[in-house]
Amino acid sequence: MGKLSRAALLYISAVVAAAVVLVARGPFTGLSWQYVVFLGILVIVSESRATQLRKGQLTWSSSSAAMLASVVLVGPVGAAMVGACTALGLRRGPSVLQRVFNTAMYALSAYLAGRAFLALGGQVGLPGENSFPGIIWPFAGAALVLVAANHGLLSGVLWLTRGPDQGAAAALGSQGVGLSGRLLLSDLGYAAYGLLIAALWSVVGPFAPLLVLIPLFVARWAVAQFAEQQKAYEATVGALCQAVETKDFYTRGHSDRVSRGSVMIAREIGMRGERVEAIRYAGMLHDVGKLGVPTKVLRKTGTLTDQEYAAIQLHPMRGLDIVREIGFLDEALAGIMHHHERIDGRGYPMGLAGEEIPEFARVLAVADAFDSMTSTRSYRGARPVGEAVAELRKWSGTQFDPAFVDAFVAALRREGWQRPEPPRPPGSPLLGSEDLAALTEPDHDDPGTPLRVIDSL
């Protein structure tokens, strides 16, 4: 934290100063300390156990509910004091400066929320029967102000410490606008519980927060379970894909890289998050059907017979057979089935052309061919990225959708490409590329592979 810019330091001091001044100004008369203590404890507990939604993202805690409850029960100054209890959170990790800033930020936003509540006509104190539904609008205003002030102050500091690009991204969550919207919504949802705590206080006293937060803690538990399962799931799919690849020595890691390439294209053209996920799995599984192709055909050196070639051409259909029962998006299935179609209609298995080919399949085709070209094959060495791009451009419009080729090239330029290590097949030195070209059948993924018509299909 030592290398903070002067602007960042200035900003942090301003926030801290504002918080201190506003709280110190009072008034403290008529402040019910009982509430402040209970809600402060609640904030400390929530802050100590904040759930991290995903690695490196904002944490999500129920302290905003406690702060909003205090807005209703004890007013702006009390709320600021409850917010300041953040400082006592037992969570390890944040540095002293971060802790100070967080404390000031929560105190300040709670104070502002309290002011908004009063300005909109809310009345401080235990809500009674007559408070509903009149209290809802001031409270909603307070909640909005709290969430907005929180996010605003936080983006400010991130912007100043990490630079505009990263700051905005970090503040919004790395998944972009979709997630940030969800995060804001979940914050607002959490905020609503503040009112419930305040309302229940008159019936069950300090048990109110406990009772209100049980369903939320359970929900959080379920979300954590979900995240864990999802990680496990991804790892398992990855491992199984690798198992599939052991059949063909030269394609090790191919699925993984195709998956990455497809995601690059999908992000570049602005696909929705959910579809990006789907295409990631589609990339991982696109060649699963190769298992239906006998190993000796896959590894064969020399010209393939028509039957053998037919077996290779069937692999997208085999892949579909395997993954059909998985509850994926249908688009992923279509992508797996059609990833060897060509824009000019001369691909397989169906010979679809142009827009008839599902979008996923067109994306996968580009990533698939690119990875094939930049990896070593038994009959040739890996081509450099530049050459592979030129090749993509060459076949753009006949084999590939030009829009996706462009998107891929743009993404490549920005993010770069991790080429696989050249493999060393057991028992043979790394082969010189030219000598073998004549010997073997080109990889089915290589663009420009001569087309063959098979009668038996």
């Binding site: 799931y233 059949k247 699963v288 006998p294 998985i326």
Partner: protein, 441 residues
């Protein structure tokens, strides 16, 4: 899972469903009595009754499938419990009978089940009956007390009574569901109950808390409490739905990818699925708990995944027919694949040891080249023993349904129980198989 249920439903006399029938009859009797009583007395506080009925119906529409083919309706259940526990709405003391609670809950549930029926989903009567019985139990205890002056005035007494009744209702639901499972899946009651509690506990806590919240908050907010405190439960439910969704996808994916060995011609079509089904049935017979049962299922599905690394498929894929070294090599390769996922550690271990003989006494140390620790203190894990037996059985019988062939295969496994197969596992398998032949005849 649904397939399996389907299979059981096929045979006409339905011995398995007797428990379900009993439960539904009990709920039905309770219901008829309540409806008659309510009809005779007339509906009290109709506005409140309609509001809660609507909430219960809404909750029933939003049913949730929890892992392990469990259905629950958290919102509906919470609403019904809250209705049973209500003392006051605003300043108005409510006095309705337990019978009215049962009637309103039932009508709500039936209305909520209609959309499910309309889109062709099963109505799941047994789950509804179980929930209804729990609500009825709470209502019959609490309703007579609700008008009691002592309960009305002592907040602490009322609150502790309500909390304990809620806990009671949730426990009762777990017991009833466990009983149903025992009946349906031939699980052991104790095992089923523990599994049920483990799965239901988190959601149950949320349901109970929401029911109490609605009942308490109605005093402050009136009927708005219903909508307001259903919201947290809805959030919880959404989170659980996503969790259950990824669990289901996980299983589907492993099932699908386990099939690659079949499509690659390494094993007979349907082998992994059959072995896993048999292994799970045997595991249940042996009283394995659900989390381990899931691992067993994964391991059984992927037990042949190591064959992918073989250059040429084994003829017919029957691993029982190849040499022990080869079997062991396949198991090791498969375990390595699974290990790469880093998350299924015990599954990898189960797969790795699936070929180890039950008693290692007569194995020549050099023959089992892959068993470096010659004097293992213990045999292979139970799951490995189950997979070994189930795999051998399927290699011998295949997809055949011939009971004589099955009996002969069991006999052959039995002959090998001195060293190769675990006798207890083989006996469990024999019971499962003989049941199955009755079903399929």
């Amino acid at each position: 899972m649904s397939e399996r249920r389907h299979e059981l439903r096929r045979y006409p006399w339905r011995v398995r469903d007797s428990g379900e029938l009993l439960l539904v009859v009990a709920a039905g009797v309770c219901l008829v009595a309540s409806v008659t009583q309510t009809a005779a007395e007339g509906l009290k506080d109709p506005r409140i009754a309609i509001a809660f009925g609507a909430l219960i119906a809404f909750g029933e529409v939003l049913r949730l499938n929890l892992p392990g083919d469990r259905e629950s309706a958290p919102v509906g259940f919470a609403g019904a419990l809250a209705y049973a526990l209500l003392i006051r709405v605003g300043t108005h003391d409510v006095h309705y009978s337990a019978e009215q609670v049962v009637t309103v809950a039932t009508i709500g549930m039936i209305i909520g089940a209609l959309p499910h029926l309309a889109v062709g989903r099963p109505a799941r009567v047994s789950g509804m009956a179980a929930r209804l019985l729990c609500v009825a139990c709470v209502a019959y205890i609490f309703r007579p007390l609700a008008g009691n002056a002592a309960v009305d005035q002592h907040w602490g007494l009322a609150a502790s009574l309500m909390v304990s009744l809620t806990v009671l209702a949730l426990l009762l639901e777990a017991v009833l569901t466990a009983l149903l499972r025992v009946d349906e899946q031939r699980a052991r009651f104790k095992v089923a109950l523990v599994d049920e509690m483990r799965v239901q506990l988190p959601l149950g806590a949320a349901v109970g808390a929401s029911a109490l919240l609605i009942a308490f908050a109605a005093e402050v907010m009136g009927l708005a409490a219903l909508a307001v405190f259903t919201a947290p439960l809805l959030v919880t439910q959404v989170a659980f739905r996503r969790y259950a969704g990824i669990r289901a996808t996980y299983l589907q994916t492993v099932r699908a990818l386990a099939k690659v060995t079949e499509i690659g011609g390494y094993v007979e079509p349907g082998h992994s699925e059959r072995v896993s089904r048999l292994a799970v049935a045997v595991g249940r017979e042996l009283g394995i708990h659900e989390p381990q049962l899931l691992e067993l299922e994964y391991a059984a599905l992927m037990h042949d995944i190591g064959q992918l690394s073989l250059h040429d498929p084994i003829p017919g894929g029957a691993t029982v027919l190849v040499s022990r070294q080869d079997q062991q090599r396949i198991a090791e390769l498969g375990a390595d694949v699974i290990q790469q996922a880093h998350v299924l550690g015990s599954v990898a271990e189960i797969v790795r040891r699936q070929n180890e003989p039950y008693r290692a006494v007569d194995v020549e140390p050099d023959a089992a080249g892959a068993a470096p620790d010659g004097n293992r203190p213990s045999g292979p894990p139970l799951s490995s023993r189950i997979i070994k037996a189930a795999n051998a059985f399927d290699d011998l019988v295949g997809s055949s349904l011939d009971p004589d062939r099955a009996a002969a295969a069991v006999q052959r496994l039995r002959l090998d129980t001195a060293s190769e197969y675990d006798p207890a596992t083989v006996e469990a398998l024999s019971r499962v198989v003989s049941r199955r032949s009755v079903v399929q005849m």
